[in-house]
């Protein structure tokens, strides 16, 4: 028996909690998983489901990327850039419009019991209707490409922001409202100094979720409603000779931008005006 096996096991730094991940593991494990993922992808793509629309191998996808990042003849920027800009632009405007209208509406619904009684059923009814279902109407309603896609993205976020905000306001502890009234605050200072800051952590949480939904919806909307953007690029690649390499390349770019959007909004959660509302870690 080797001598070292006689030693007592070292206590783990994490104590009796969940197993800790060491620093080396933290560096290596994601790379290992990436390698495994690429391997499985290659095997699957080669083994093939058969037919002309074979899933591209990682190498073919890389070549697709090359094409996407090449500036087309007569163009000013790489092919992909123009479409990324279109998609991000729409998402940003639709989302910001939803925030600008959804947060005030939510505060109003959460604040006024009468408004809540009158309107809540309507909001609840409209909220679960997928923005995708609105696509035909949106195309008929709005003649400009931008307006119709911005409308769909707005719809994707507006109701969920309004509902989250109103429930955030309703769940403000009575003691804060009483204290504010006790010190003689009028309605507007009350909203500014107590209601809005008290609801902010939950509002920010809902912004992150709805921004994610917007990014999902924009791709679907662009597939049918407009003539550019990442969704349109995917459909176009299909009709331009089933370029699955371009399709999968675009999908990966959609994923990366989605992560970036989430990281951007995650930064909001670290602001002191927001982070007080989340339980401390560790």
């Amino acid at each position: 028996m080797p001598a070292d096996s006689m030693q007592l096991p070292k206590p783990r730094p994490g104590g009796w909690g969940l197993p800790e991940v060491s620093r080396i593991e933290r560096t290596i494990l994601p790379w290992l998983a990436a390698l495994g993922f690429l391997l499985l992808w290659s095997i699957w793509a080669r083994g093939g489901s058969g037919g002309a629309t074979d899933f591209p191998t990682p190498l073919e996808t890389a070549r697709g990327f090359e094409h996407l990042f090449k500036t087309p003849p007569g163009g000013r920027a790489p092919l992909i850039v123009q479409h990324v800009v279109s998609s991000v632009y729409r998402t940003t405007f639709g989302f910001l419009a939803a925030v600008a209208l959804g947060v005030p509406l939510g505060i109003f619904l959460g604040w006024s019991a009468r408004a809540h009684t009158a309107l809540n059923w309507l909001v609840q009814l409209l909220r679960p209707i997928s923005p995708i279902a609105w696509i035909p109407i949106a195309i008929m309603m709005f003649h400009g490409d931008e307006l119709r896609s911005i409308y769909l993205i707005f719809y994707a976020a507006f109701f969920s922001i309004a509902v989250s905000t109103s429930s955030a306001v309703q769940s403000i502890p009575t003691v804060y409202l009483r204290a504010a009234r006790n010190f003689g605050l009028g309605t507007i200072p009350m909203l500014q100094r107590v209601i809005f800051p008290a609801a902010l952590p939950q509002i920010v949480l809902s912004l992150r979720v709805s921004a994610g939904i917007c990014w999902i919806v924009v791709v679907a909307a662009e597939m049918v409603a407009v003539k550019d953007g990442l969704g349109w690029l995917i459909i176009d690649a299909r009709y331009q000779g089933a370029r699955t390499d371009l399709i999968v390349g675009t999908m990966l770019i959609i994923g990366v931008i989605g992560v970036c959007i989430d990281m951007l909004l995650r930064r909001l959660e670290r602001l002191p005006q927001v982070s007080w509302g989340y339980p401390p870690r560790g």
């Binding site: 003691v175 204290a179 006790n182 010190f183 800051p197 401390p280």
Partner: protein, 252 residues
């Protein structure tokens, strides 16, 4: 600071019960509190003492009866009469300084700063002006709540078990701070507690409430001069009287 006289006549409250019917929680209560008096409301859990305080504070309406402050009918909460809540009620998104100056919104910037600094100092919170409540201990949080209330120089303080969430050592210390603040400023104080020692140490009069529906069983005057000490003969006699009024034996 000025102080106010509070008069309650026939104040009653009941709550609607699930499945219909009303649950009587309080009253009728008749009580007069003189200007500058420190009155403790003492009673078992669920006797309606906090509800009574909420009603006097103007946050809830009584089902019957009248409340008059200095002869005028009560019309809701007022910055001249400030409530201190059991769970502090200070705003967790505001720094100590912002909390303490919360009620001073009508003042000029300079006045507000001066007043806030004075109460931050008085509450022993110097050096913590920029801290958020989550970074403070329970005792310090309650000091912030007290400083916020006192900064507006109210005529009346309503305190709903304000020391209930503190550990017993901090609680002792805060009690003597409350007592010395009151002796210095002389506002009218209505203090809800279920702690007999607290009532004897602080109050001019102890109003003993019954089990639900809460009614006044007895009003016990405490004439011991301040500062009061545990265990002196007068102290023990009053404590014994309160035990009896509450229907408890004096032994454990």
């Amino acid at each position: 600071m000025a102080s106010s006289r509070i008069e309650l006549r026939g104040v009653k409250k009941s709550f609607a019960q699930r499945g219909g019917g009303a649950l009587e929680v309080l009253g009728p209560i008749d009580l007069t509190i003189s200007a500058g008096e420190f009155v403790c409301l003492l009673g078992p859990s669920g006797c309606g003492k906090s509800t009574l305080l909420s009603i006097i504070g103007g946050f809830e309406r009584p089902d019957a009866g009248t409340i008059a402050i200095d002869g005028a009918a009560l019309r809701g909460p007022d910055p001249r009469r400030v409530f201190v809540f059991q769970d502090y009620g200070i705003f967790p998104w505001m720094s100590v300084e912002e909390n303490v100056s919360f009620g001073l919104h009508a003042m000029s910037e300079a006045q507000r700063k001066e007043r806030c600094a004075r109460w931050v100092e008085a509450a022993g919170l110097r050096g913590f002006e920029q801290a958020l409540p989550a970074e403070l201990s329970g005792g310090m949080r309650q000091r912030v709540a007290l400083a916020r209330a006192l900064a507006v120089e109210p005529d009346v303080l309503y305190m709903d078990e304000p020391l209930g969430a503190l550990d017993s050592l901090t609680r002792q210390q805060m009690r003597s701070e409350v007592a010395s603040l009151w002796r210095r400023l002389r506002p009218t104080v209505l203090f809800v507690t279920h702690d007999i020692d607290e009532a004897v140490l602080l109050a001019d009069r102890v109003v003993v409430l019954s089990q639900r529906p809460g009614r006044i069983v007895e009003i016990v005057p405490v004439t011991i001069p301040h500062p009061r000490r545990f265990g002196e003969p007068d102290y023990v006699a009053i404590k014994r009287e309160l035990y009896r009024a509450l229907g408890l034996g004096a032994e454990v």
